[in-house]
Symmetry: C2
Subunit: 327 residues, 2 copies
DNA sequence: ATGAAAGCGCTAACAC
DNA sequence: GTGTTAGCGCTTTCAT
């Protein structure tokens, strides 16, 4: 029997006599033969692998995104290779180069802050990319993001409705899209209320937020509320507040962008802007695979997923809602 | 110039005139040439990819493990492909088959409960595997785990020292190694104290633990403490307790296996058994890569990492410590 | 220091 | 239905 016949059986093609088919299947079983995807994809000139480059897999938000991506990838028979850029363009670039060498079918990328023009070369060469959580700066490209500005506006406005005016924004560098958008939402709400902005750009990590919250509350311009830009900052701020014995919401109200587990059973339950992280990953992956398989062909698309303000108790009691706040 | 010369330049080999070298480098730059790892690894008969199969990437414990794995992989120039088995042997098996076809250099596996004899074939065929978090049932194989039994013993004993006697074990099926070991630790401590076991085997998810905790506290044999077998169960139990208005530790003390963020600023701060999740991932990955690269050759190794009881306030005040507990 | 030839394991195209 | 041939992009071996 020829090599080709065996190949046909393995690939489940037609035109093989049942006798031969069983014979091959038997041999495969006995020898424990496994077809070599390297060789297979080399000749096929395509793989069923997608690269996922995120900042930090230990951040539950990205963990949830990854989960969504993997769900979709699996459903379509794709494998995902994971890389953590740690928010550095340099590492990101290295990974992209590596993934290109591995001839991934497409790329899902949470762009690190910085210049992404290097991607135009890759894109023009046919690499499919879908940006996840943040668009690619300066590139018209597919991306899946959430309603950052409206979410931050709603959160800030909620604080204002509860009579707060000295609302501090605790956020990361504006060089990161999500933080910049959330800052805009905050600003719009503050402007609408005629309140003075209190913008604090910190290192958006647990440690950074912890230190800054402590500084903020011991400083001369003490806020009566804070808006935390992501889950890292919320955790850091919360830690500082509890350590300092600041009561929430009496002394200080708090809203966080990006909800997390236990927020609803915290003391007090924490009001949060919920992001559909799993859906974000799923949408991005679906779009990417649609591009790869030619189902989606038009101009670059931007998928914007809604967020939801989960109103709990960290912004004040229901009593003071819409009451004439005293600053 | 021949193909080979270009190859030499790309691979940074010796014996190429500087002129040619620069010429090739220029062409690579201009054409945007990327060597094809598929072809490269096909002839090299080896890849620099390791497969990571875990149950659920959205569980922060596994997220942290993955982080550790990726750190080490990166340092050694390996790429990691990620798969989520969702605790099913069937899915796990499919993934392993896929990864074998992709000719991964090795496998990091959090074994799903069930029969793993199918791996003996793969192993005898040369596949390197290191089990992560749980050993492979019935196989002598490398693995990296934590001190499950001692950790659970220490946690239970801590509860006993605080005068608790009706300590409920809230855990998952014994078919999963970690749960079985933790149950043993609990039993040993209970036996040493002459206390009656209160074993509850639940679906070790947030929802499962939530329902069971509620049932437990409304039943006739109400415990005065609970030991939660993993972070999912702790979250579920906590949610139930807060919803029911049960005060911790007065009405019920609580210890959880697997510490998490915010546990120290919870109300009350939660006493937890901390697992070195990142280190676990790093150790497993290091061992795997050492096997792959032949630095490690002896008999299968079992790496056991210590855990740490983070004593906070959920088991009672310091006053009742070692006091003659009244059951 | 450079090149020619062979082959890694597979599949597409076409002949039989 | 089945087999033959060519070639995917690379590296190794050996000649020059």
């Amino acid at each position: 029997m020829s090599l080709k016949t065996a190949s046909r059986v393995v690939n489940n093609e037609r035109y093989v006599r049942t006798v031969l088919r069983e014979q091959v299947a038997g041999a495969v079983q006995k020898l424990g033969y496994r077809s070599n995807d390297l060789a297979r994809h080399l000749v096929l000139q395509t793989t069923r692998t997608i690269g996922l480059v995120i900042a930090d897999i230990s951040n539950p938000f990205y963990g949830a995104c990854a989960l969504g991506v993997m769900r979709v990838a699996r459903r379509h028979g794709y494998t995902v290779v994971l890389n953590a850029s740690d928010e550095g363009v340099h590492a990101e670039r290295d990974y992209v180069a590596l993934l290109v060498q591995q001839r991934v079918a497409g790329l899902l990328l949470v762009p690190a802050p910085g210049d992404h023009t290097y991607l135009t070369t890759e894109i023009s060469r046919g690499l499919r990319i879908v940006a996840l959580d943040r668009p690619l700066q300066g590139l018209e490209n597919d991306c899946a993001i959430v309603e950052n500005e409206p979410g931050a506006f709603a959160a800030t406005d909620h604080l204002i409705q509860h009579g707060r005016r000295r609302i501090a924004f605790l956020g990361g560098s504006e060089s990161i899209f999500t933080y910049a958008m959330r800052l805009e939402g905050y600003r719009r709400a503050m402007a609408a209320a005629g309140a003075a902005e209190m913008i604090n750009l910190v290192n958006p990590t647990v440690e950074g937020a912890l230190a800054d919250t402590r500084r903020l509350l011991t400083g001369r311009h003490r806020p009566d509320a804070i808006l935390c830009v992501n889950n890292r900052v919320t955790v850091g701020a919360l830690t500082a507040l509890v350590q300092m014995g600041v009561t929430i919401p009496d002394e200080l109200a708090l809203v966080g962008f990006d909800d997390f587990e236990l927020a609803d059973v915290f003391h007090p339950p924490l009001t949060m802007v919920r992001q559909p992280a799993i859906a974000l990953g799923m949408n991005a992956a679906t779009l990417l695979i649609d591009r790869i398989e030619g189902r989606e062909t038009g101009a670059p698309r931007t998928i914007v997923l809604p967020v939801e303000l989960m109103i709990r108790d960290s912004c004040g009691s229901h009593d003071d809602f819409r009451s004439p706040g005293v600053a």
